[in-house]
Symmetry: C2
Subunit: 518 residues, 2 copies
């Protein structure tokens, strides 16, 4: 169902909408475009006073052998979806009781949403992702939560490898069946369908040919009012680069293909054209969310990978609060990560994964970032609380408080941020001090072989068992009791201690001594 039709838009807003019609040429000197009716081939020249380029972006098709084989699909619009559904119906009918196989190339938002739907259609699914993790906007330890979901659901996840060739599967009697060859040389079992979820690229050759400046990657260059450098030509949406308001350099740009920013850019350009409003776009923060099975993953801003690449100072805290007060039934755990500049308190970004209340917290962080708030403002933020929907200390507050403690020097930590636990463990003198209760450790197993255990409530009475000059990384279940233990030991004169951000809930059994690694 379409929201509007050409007829309704004509009646309502006096618009002349031509569907199934492609602009094939722009003449910015004569101020006209040549439009081709895709069904008849007839071309018409249409003049303009102002031209808005809202051409979007196309799914990326890598130039590899076999990319145009039957059964390969990308997903941009409803027609693509109809084609995919039709193909599945046809193949499943032919396969009868045999399970259809599908390869999804790319484990980003679109790829993962497809995986869920393919499983619902009772297929065997492979996901192939070039990066060493799925869902690139998240940092690895956050993406790992979703990867476990995928594996639990029976999906074959291949990371750190890419599709190199798609060729006819000789082992199959179906000439349309494909065999996917990976960069590593691995050959995946024959499949009846390949879905390309490798991100999007703007398709702007015709626009660049018209003399409208585009970046090397093909994004149309616009200023903050969404004007190109060519008079009376504007551009919006997935085809443009926008400013990254988180970076110190106001000229630094990035491309963020999201529906929300595109919508607001459209409204802004209309105001700038019709009202001469001179509104300026303030940049895109990359607030995004995806639901996969029962989990929702959401993030905003810059992740550690981007910050490392830019050489910017950052620190991260991990907290694991409930979606609402724990004593009210139905609370779900949220894995929450806040990334910030430890020198200034500026919020770089946040990531969260869980079953409930996830994107709500990211929306709050996104709003705080747009309001120029700092981590201490998150600690003090007033949010709604009632037991069925929140906590008196909201997850956002908890993360803000943990970050503020770091910024103000009340605690030092290791984790994924500036000082990684993996790096610290290279020092054989560093000991892990787990302050959980023995029953908890028995239930989960130790966080690492050789970890010392003194429960938090015994730290004061058993402090003599510890060496004041020793190096300790303190851990517990989520990081909070570790913080208390840290403060107690610090006040008793311990100098070489750190709290482990996120503790067992973030790290599970992934910690190893370099010497342990096989």
């Amino acid at each position: 169902m379409s929201v509007q039709t050409p007829q309704s838009l004509r009646a309502r807003l006096n618009l002349d909408v031509r569907v199934n019609t492609r602009v094939v040429k722009i003449d910015t000197a004569k101020k006209n475009v040549t439009a081709r009716d895709e069904s008849t081939g007839a071309e018409a020249v249409i003049s303009y006073d102002e031209l808005v380029l809202a051409v979007g972006a196309e799914p990326f098709k890598p130039p590899i052998p076999g990319i145009d084989r039957p059964g390969n699909f990308a997903l941009r619009n409803l027609q693509d979806m109809d084609s995919i559904v039709g193909w599945i119906d046809k193949k499943q009918k032919a396969l009868k009781d045999e399970k259809m196989h599908c390869i999804v190339a790319g484990a980003g938002f679109v790829g993962l949403e497809m995986v869920e739907q393919l499983l619902r259609r009772n297929m065997t699914v492979f996901v192939v992702e070039m990066m060493p993790q799925i869902l690139g906007p998240l940092d690895p330890e956050m993406a790992a939560i979703l990867e476990r979901d995928l594996v639990d659901a029976g999906v074959n996840v291949v990371t750190g490898d890419a599709i190199k060739e798609i060729r006819q599967a000789v082992a199959s009697s179906d000439p349309e069946a494909s065999e996917v060859v990976l960069g590593s040389g691995r050959v995946l079992p024959p499949s009846q369908m390949v879905i390309l979820g490798l991100g999007v690229r703007p398709d702007t050759k015709m626009i660049a040919d018209a003399g409208i400046p585009c970046t090397p990657r093909g994004h149309i260059v616009v200023d903050d009012e969404m004007k190109t450098s060519v008079a009376n030509v504007w551009a919006v949406g997935d085809a443009i680069e926008v400013n990254n308001p988180m970076l110190p350099d106001p000229e630094e740009r990035w491309a963020v293909p999201l529906a929300g920013p595109a919508n607001r850019q459209g409204r802004m350009v209309a105001d700038n054209i019709f009202l001469n409003a001179k509104r300026k776009y303030k940049g895109t923060y990359g607030a995004s969310v995806v639901r996969m099975f029962k989990n929702i993953a959401s993030c905003v801003g810059m992740n550690e990978k981007m910050l490392k690449a830019k050489g910017l100072p950052f620190e991260s805290v991990h907290v694991h609060p409930g979606s609402h007060a724990g004593y009210f039934p139905g609370a779900k755990a949220i894995n929450f990560k806040l990334i910030f500049n430890p020198q200034t308190g500026q919020i770089w970004g946040a990531q969260a994964v869980g079953e409930d209340g996830v994107e709500k917290r990211i929306d709050v962080i996104a709003t705080a970032m747009q309001g120029g708030m700092l981590v201490e403002d998150l600690a003090n933020l007033e949010l709604c609380y009632a037991p069925p929907v929140g906590s008196a200390k909201d997850p956002v507050n908890m993360a803000g408080m943990a970050a503020q403690n770091l910024v103000e020097g009340l605690v030092t930590q290791v984790g994924t941020g500036a000082r990684t636990i993996q790096e610290l463990l290279k020092d054989p003198q560093v000991k892990i001090l787990d302050v959980r209760n023995p029953s908890e450790i028995e239930a989960t197993g130790p966080i690492m072989e050789g970890a010392i255990n003194i429960p938090l409530n015994d730290i004061r009475s058993r402090i003599d068992e510890l060496d004041k000059d020793g190096k300790y990384v303190i851990t517990c279940l989520s990081g909070q009791r570790g913080y208390y233990a840290y403060r107690t030991l610090k006040q008793k004169g311990f100098k070489h201690i750190d709290n482990l951000s996120g503790a067992y809930k973030t790290w599970g059994h992934t910690l190893t001594r370099p010497s342990d690694a096989k």
Copy 2:
């Protein structure tokens, strides 16, 4: 289950916690308190370096005849709840198959949460509220949505009337049964229980007697660091007044008994005492939420009633978006109201009612208010979007855009705000122009008798049916099509037109001409 015990807090933090012990006297000159053990009656004098008053507030018990009758309960703590549950068990057992009756005095957060639980216990429930509406933090048209829920659930709702007397019910064989007499003279049927949900009052007589300044209503006076004017004495929580950061006068204060602010004030005072951090409390915005049956109601900031009382300029927009994209299954309608200063764009507050995604949007508004953002910032706000959890234009964006249109003069409106529809309808020349489709009007009935109907898409072709100098209030289902019609007519030279904020979804069939009112 308690989160901590005196023993665990002693072990963990070396705290000396004395439960069941009441401070009966404070000597600020000698810097000590007298504490009485409530079980033994023994008193002890305890000296302090710093004294933090976190005494909370008590449920208000009005001084009316019969207030201490058996079966009257207020609800502050778990012991109260145990007493209530015990009483219900006893009475229901005695009543056998007969339904137990309960009167809830006060339709605020606590009263309404009690109503839901009492219905689950299979009682006949009356709610008596002195104000002409339930849930005072909301404006009347928003509270009306929840009031319909209550009535639909079989609750007897009495507004604009208050409990004057509680007396023995002579018609009952149970001498503990009560008869509630209202201010209007109405006598409610005999009931076995009366729950007092009339708000809270600080119980600070002992504190004022110690020379620590309190307001006439009993709130402890503190500065922004939570210090009283007495050396080494601090106060936090429901017993204090805090600044209202929304008002122009930074000295203006209000009392907002909420758990979130109390929590953060506690942390702040600890930092100010132990770290000499000199943190300043930035005020309370009143972000709150309550779940009642399937609906969630949430609000933040100042409502129209408060703004009228203060004589501050305000305007309100009503929007009715879905909790997420309409084409994805399971979207629920949100009734959303944004209140703002039309001269400056400052956000005064917001209110929302619906089944899903309600407090999420209020949390975003609350964050925006704390970040000093304006309504145009809400229009431009970047929030997470994926079809299962949001919309490319989020409800917050929609409300911000509607408000921005008003601030910038693109539209004039009537509604609940500066210019009310009720006031305008006193002018007999004002006509209602409904731009919905005839089938929609047939389904709901007209918004008001005598309303003209021209569907939006016919406005341009049927404009001659309208009088360019006539006075029209334009309405549709939610207000959006009305806006389009307004803009079309405005461009065609119509001068005396207004859009109806919220349209049919806000007003239903409540509109009447003064002459129609019986």
